[in-house]
């Protein structure tokens, strides 16, 4: 088989149950090199469970999980990381009181010297951190400054740059933009595009279609633990996507209900209300 045609990450009918709760049912998705897959869904749709399953926190109860065509089972996030699947969590991305360079290399510090004189090569760490961030378009003033001095968007970006530097083939981003303002979210989206340009495949989790639509190549919409299908950008319009995410019929019913309260038909399209 042609190497380029093998998906870097593939899920086939993944299911995950917590007791009697069906958190995920028959989720299938494929992700190619240099592709951004947006995972969309309302709260409780199963987005978090799905990424935790893909990143090695949970083990699926049934279904196949393949990395570069090879079936895998991960017992820990570290094992997933060793297979090139890096997850950047919204809150756990960085340790605020540590410097950018120390954060960047935590767990994979460059060393110099040998034997008992082997030491953490701070100079190289600082230089690499700076250079890698510059590559992503993040211009930091001082790699020794604490991560706490960075803005939320910058922190996410540093985490993304770190994952890319350490050879991530797949980058799973858990709601990287949800806590950010418009401008900062734009910054993060730009870094996602840069990572894609470097050949990294990205799974971008969000509940904001306005962040997903500009960057995504494919869109998988989750609802109540199932997929409503995967669409390429050509196949789906933004408005249609919003409708599917929040449940079109429910929205129609709600609109109808609300119209009865106000007594006139001037509600307008409710879908617009969710736009920022």
């Amino acid at each position: 088989m042609d190497q380029a045609a093998v998906p870097v990450l593939e899920a086939r009918n993944l299911s995950k149950y917590f007791g009697s709760v069906i958190a995920l049912q028959d989720i299938s998705l494929t992700l190619m090199k240099g592709e951004v897959l947006c995972l969309l869904g309302d709260n409780g749709a199963g987005k978090s469970t799905l990424i935790k399953t893909l990143s090695g926190v949970h083990r699926p109860d049934s279904g196949d999980y393949l990395v570069e065509g090879v079936p895998v089972t991960f017992n820990s996030p570290r094992e997933a990381l060793d297979h090139g699947i890096a997850t950047v969590y919204q809150d756990l991305a960085m340790i605020p009181l540590m410097s950018i360079a120390r954060n960047f290399f935590l767990g994979s510090e460059p060393t110099t010297g040998w034997g008992i004189f082997k030491r953490f090569d701070m100079q190289r760490a600082n230089a690499i951190a700076r250079e890698e961030l510059a590559k992503m378009g993040i211009d930091i003033r001082d790699p020794e400054q604490a991560v706490g001095t960075l803005s939320g968007g910058e922190r996410q970006s540093v985490a993304i740059a770190r994952a890319v530097y350490f050879g991530a083939k797949v980058l799973i981003l858990d709601e990287p933009t949800s806590a950010l303002g418009v401008k900062q979210a734009g910054t993060v989206l730009r870094y996602i595009a840069k990572a894609r340009a470097q050949g990294v495949a990205v799974i971008f989790i969000t509940h904001n279609p306005h962040h997903a639509y500009p960057i995504g190549d494919k869109f998988t919409i989750l609802k109540r633990g199932r997929t409503l299908g995967t669409y390429t950008k050509a196949e789906i319009q933004r408005d249609e996507m919003i409708r599917m995410m929040s449940g079109g019929e429910e929205l129609d019913a709600l609109e109808h209900e609300l119209r009865e309260f106000t007594g006139d038909g001037s509600m307008g399209a409710l879908a617009d209300v969710s736009m920022p």
């Binding site: 996030p77 570290r78 990381l81 997850t87 756990l92 991305a93 960085m94 340790i95 605020p96 009181l97 540590m98 120390r102 290399f105 935590l106 767990g107 994979s108 510090e109 060393t111 082997k118 030491r119 953490f120 701070m122 230089a127 700076r130 250079e131 510059a134 590559k135 211009d139 003033r141 001082d142 020794e144 604490a146 706490g148 001095t149 960075l150 803005s151």
Partner: protein
């Protein structure tokens, strides 16, 4: 894509960077505090011997015996854990050395080696218990504090019928061991009219050695980076592959090791062991560490800070004697010092690490 090398300094980094770099160091507050305390006692008790060589040797030795302990406790606390068992560990290891060398007639080196093994084993047990039970180390080591102290008193009375063992200076191999742990450098004190000698204890040297090693590990090695990471966010550290459990076990072993070193120094310089020795050392060690700028919740701090925290402790506890004030007031002073230090350190940390 071409990458510009970043050799030339960034125009947005102001040249006054040294000051900010200094502000970023956790120990800044403790260094300033130590200077203030020294000035205070120099002014109030300078003419009564605080400034003399003998006075200096005196408070340095007191600071050293706490400082050795505080340095290891600092590393542990930066990793987000506590060790309250170090105080009773001092009593236990000292007693093991004394009982084996005096009552059993062992060579003192062998006795010291056995108590070292005991300390490392108990430290490892502390670490394993914390890892396995996931309970706060505060609780685990509070329990081991009592267990170790109780067993020390119980066994000692069972074996010797007393709670004190003396006569260590007559033990086999004492002279060579004392050279290592209990010797001193004698310098003629010029302020003394009768030619008294100031004795700088070798424990001061041990203190500096331990502090230098800890600082090197913390700032210049991979495990040092892991210690910060574990204290900052244990889950995040684990997710990037930091061996969190192993590091914690090593750190508990390190605090036990320094407790052993302190007890060995004490036993050899005093010539006796007491089951109650080391009482409340765990609290004074934590105070020294916190005064030294280490965050109680972990993730931030320094070993040098703990050195200065211990120095403050030494100067206050001895300086108060020189001033002629009743030393009963010492505890009040240390408690007040602790609160002031935490407030100052919090302020400095905010300045250094928050988004402007």
């Amino acid at each position: 894509m071409t990458i510009k090398t970043v050799e030339k300094p960034d125009e947005r980094v102001r040249r006054e960077g040294t000051l900010r770099k200094l502000l970023r160091r956790p120990e800044l507050g403790a260094v300033g505090g130590a200077l203030l305390v020294w000035l205070f006692f120099a002014a109030t008790a300078g003419d009564r011997g605080f400034l003399s060589l003998r006075g200096t040797a005196n408070y340095l030795e007191v600071a050293a015996e706490l400082g050795i302990l505080a340095v290891a406790v600092a590393l542990l606390m930066i990793a987000g854990e506590f060790d309250l068992s170090v105080g009773s560990m001092i009593g236990a290891t000292g007693m093991i050395t004394a009982v084996l060398s005096v009552e059993m007639g062992w060579n003192i080196w062998a006795a010291i080696a056995v108590s070292l093994v005991f300390a490392l084993a108990v430290g490892a047990i502390n670490g394993v218990l914390v890892n396995r039970t996931k309970l706060p180390s505060f609780i685990i080591t509070l329990a081991t504090l009592f267990i170790i102290r109780g067993m020390t008193v119980g066994f000692t009375r069972l074996i010797t019928g007393r709670t004190q063992v003396s006569g260590i200076k007559e033990a086999l191999g004492f002279d060579s061991a004392a050279a290592f742990f209990a010797s001193s450098l004698k310098i003629l004190d010029p302020s003394s009219a009768r030619g008294a000698m100031a004795e700088f204890s070798v424990s001061i040297l041990w203190w500096f050695l331990v502090a230098a090693l800890a600082t090197y590990i913390l700032l210049r090695t991979r495990p040092g980076n892991w210690i910060f990471g574990i204290g900052g966010d244990e889950t995040a550290a684990r997710n990037v592959g930091v061996p969190v459990n192993r590091m914690k076990i090593y750190l508990f072993m390190a605090t036990a090791l320094t407790a052993w070193l302190v007890s060995t120094i004490q036993v050899l310089s005093v010539g006796s062991a007491d089951t109650l020795r080391g009482e409340q050392r765990e609290f004074f060690a934590i105070i020294a560490v916190v005064i030294g700028g280490t965050l109680l919740t972990g993730g931030y701090g320094s070993a040098i800070g703990a050195v200065f925290g211990a120095l403050i402790y030494g100067m206050v506890s001895q300086g108060i004697v020189f001033t002629g004030v009743d030393s009963d007031w010492f505890l009040v002073f240390m408690g007040a010092m602790l609160i002031i230090a935490v407030l100052v350190n919090n302020y400095i940390r905010k300045q250094a690490s928050e988004a402007k």
